[in-house]
């Protein structure tokens, strides 16, 4: 019985072309590999994402909660035609991007989350995602929304996306924007960066294991930190504990 039920509950994925791994040099001179992963590697990614559920700033908590659920759904065969790309620096997880194919002509970009700040990792990963939709899967357009102002400025304004406000996006049903093939071709020289094929030693290291990020965004010392300074003057004891972590304390 349970086997028949699973046949009904499990969506049948449309065959989708694979993303060929690529690599690029980051601002600090280190190489980063962006590759597609299958279901078997998702549990590792989920483990590394989990701590970010508690980082309130820059909408990390919302994005993490949503991408976590999307990846989990994909892993458990409860999402259709979803793909996942990961960016790795020396094997360490630096970013995760995901999306879905809605029709053979239309894609839906879901999320981009960067676990390494200051090196434009998110920008590289997002561009790889757009390349996947338009160049590899052959979509005519990709629907996109942004949860935070950083994303909005980078994507909606910088790439001059077209409004598709009549089309609700899967993420909370909000109005979407679209990156069309035409816009993509215009921005191609800026968007399609990175080189192929990935040198064997780099690819090998990346494929060996998705390692935990060494310097991920961390939650504030306590959950109220982001709001306290403006509205709530209690909890100062917790704040003073955090001040103790300042470098000057020993020598003071």
């Amino acid at each position: 019985m349970s086997v028949d039920l699973e046949k009904i509950l499990r969506p049948i994925d449309t065959p989708m072309a694979a993303f060929e791994a690529k690599f690029m040099t980051l601002a600090n001179g280190a190489p980063m590999v962006i590759r597609q992963i299958e279901r078997d590697e998702i549990p590792d990614v989920l483990a590394h994402l989990e701590p970010l559920l508690h980082v309130e700033r820059d909408m990390y908590d919302v994005v993490c909660a949503r991408i976590y659920s999307e990846l989990l759904a994909h892993y458990r065969h409860r999402a259709q035609d979803e793909y996942v790309l990961v960016a790795q620096i020396d094997g360490e997880l630096a970013a995760v991007v995901n999306g879905r194919q809605i029709t053979p002509a239309r894609g839906m970009s879901l999320h981009t989350i960067a676990l390494r700040r200051g090196l434009r990792v998110g920008a590289h990963a997002f561009a790889a995602k757009m390349e996947y939709h338009i160049d590899v899967l052959g979509h005519d357009e990709v629907l996109i929304v942004a949860e935070g102002p950083i994303g909005f400025r980078r994507w909606m304004i910088e790439y001059q996306l077209e409004k598709r406000f009549d089309t609700p996006h899967e993420l909370g049903g909000v109005p979407s924007w679209a990156l069309t093939k035409e816009l993509f071709d215009r921005a191609r020289s800026d968007l399609v960066v990175g080189r192929r094929p990935v040198p064997a030693h780099l690819l090998g290291k990346a494929q060996e294991k998705i390692l935990p990020p060494s310097d991920p965004p961390k939650p504030a010392a306590d959950l109220l930190a982001a709001t306290r300074s403006m509205y709530d003057s209690t909890g100062s004891v917790l704040m003073s504990q955090r001040w103790r972590q300042e470098p000057g304390v020993e020598r003071a």
Partner: protein, 391 residues
């Protein structure tokens, strides 16, 4: 005028801080008082630019004096854009030198990250002339970019030279536990590699992402006292020997010579004259590199290198920590961060640390004379300080 000495210093990390602005000012002030061994002050000058607009707080000086339980000491906020820090130090100096006060606490603090980047950009853009610049969408990076283009055309400075400043200051910041950015970068990564345009996109052409300092929160403090008080405290004897300040036209298009930073030139000259020194005497300097081009140009205008040759000295490594005239050993604004009000005080903090010989891995050997340049607006109000170790 009486001589004025530095009794104590304190600083926070320059990073993203989740504390109220008054605490960001009070904490380093408390550190400075502990450093000095003082429990009372006569007056506080607090450098800050954004408390009213960004943090919804006014009368910040009074708030901080109370937060430190230092009432009934006098207090006032000093606002001079990005030069607020050094301006507050100048005010503190005048209070002690005139004989009005004996112990003056000067602190600088800023909490920019209470708002998002778009708001922060617009807030800084309010420094521009409201009628003939702001309306066009001119921002400080836009000014720096137009200036850079002229400098490239006239003196042959290239994007590579700008990148070299960024790489140097990021490397120096790695040695500074208080710095905002602990991220080494390479010329290959930000300029040469095929992916450099994504790693280092244009902000305002020809300035790129790594040519512009980060938006930071942070605070710093310094205590200025009379010679008598300084000697009684047993700290290294560091004199604030020279202060210079000069203004220039508000609208950048009205500058006499578009490639000159006259206010820097005049303020530096004034500071050296007051201290009885020349640029050659300086062992270490903190120059205001909100944009990498500014470090190069300021190094010329203050007198370290001939006009138009700052980038050549940079190429030769003369401004490295081990070089002939180390510039921005702390990482400068580019690596250490730029909490606007705190920066000038932070520069003074670094110089005093260097002159005391306690700068750890970034120590400049045998530093006895230090210099700072705090650049307000886009060069329309500049304050330069000269510090001398006397014992």
């Amino acid at each position: 005028m009486r001589d004025v000495y530095v009794a104590g210093i304190g600083i926070t990390s320059f990073t993203r801080l989740e504390y109220p602005l008054s605490e960001i000012a009070a904490y380093p002030s408390m550190l400075a008082m502990r450093d000095a061994g003082l429990n009372e002050i006569d007056h506080l000058y607090l450098a800050n630019m954004g408390s009213a607009r960004v943090n919804h707080q006014t009368g910040l000086g009074s708030a901080v004096v109370d937060s430190l339980s230092l009432t009934p000491a006098g207090a006032a906020v000093v606002e001079n854009g990005p030069a607020s820090g050094a301006s507050a130090i100048k005010a503190g100096f005048a209070a002690v030198a005139s004989g009005m006060h004996n112990v003056v606490l000067v602190a600088g603090a800023e909490r920019m990250r209470e708002v998002d980047n778009l708001e922060a950009t617009d807030f800084i853009a309010t420094l521009t002339h409201p009628l003939v610049e702001y309306i066009y969408g001119v921002t400080l990076p836009a000014h720096a970019a137009m200036f850079t283009r002229l400098y490239m055309e006239k003196y042959g400075v290239t994007e590579r030279h700008l990148a070299m400043v960024a790489v140097k200051n990021h490397a120096n910041a790695m040695l500074n536990e208080y710095a905002h950015l602990h991220q080494p970068i390479t010329i290959e990564g930000i300029l040469d590699s095929p992916e450099a345009m994504t790693n280092n996109p244009y902000v305002a052409e020809p300035l790129r992402f790594f040519d512009v300092c980060p938006v930071s929160d942070g605070g710093a403090a310094i205590i200025l006292v009379t010679e008598e008080v300084a000697k009684s405290l047993g700290q290294p004897l560091i004199k604030l020997a020279g202060i210079g300040q000069a203004t220039d036209t508000h609208a950048v298009h009205e500058r006499e010579e578009p490639t000159d930073l006259l206010a820097v030139r005049k303020a530096a000259a004034m500071s050296f004259e007051m201290a009885g020194l020349t640029p050659v005497d300086v062992n270490v300097a903190e120059l205001h590199d909100a944009f990498t081009i500014l470090e190069i140009v300021e190094s010329e205008e203050v007198g370290f290198f001939p006009k138009g040759e700052g980038h050549l000295a940079l190429e030769k490594g003369e401004t490295e920590i081990a070089g002939r005239i180390p510039i921005n050993p702390s990482g400068g604004l580019k690596g250490k961060g730029h909490p606007v009000g705190a920066t000038g005080v932070g520069q003074a903090h670094e110089i005093v640390t260097q002159l005391r010989g306690v700068a750890g891995e970034r120590q400049v050997e045998g530093a006895r004379i230090g210099f700072t340049c705090n650049f307000g607006g886009f060069g329309n109000n500049v304050v330069c300080l000269t510090f001398v170790r006397e014992d």
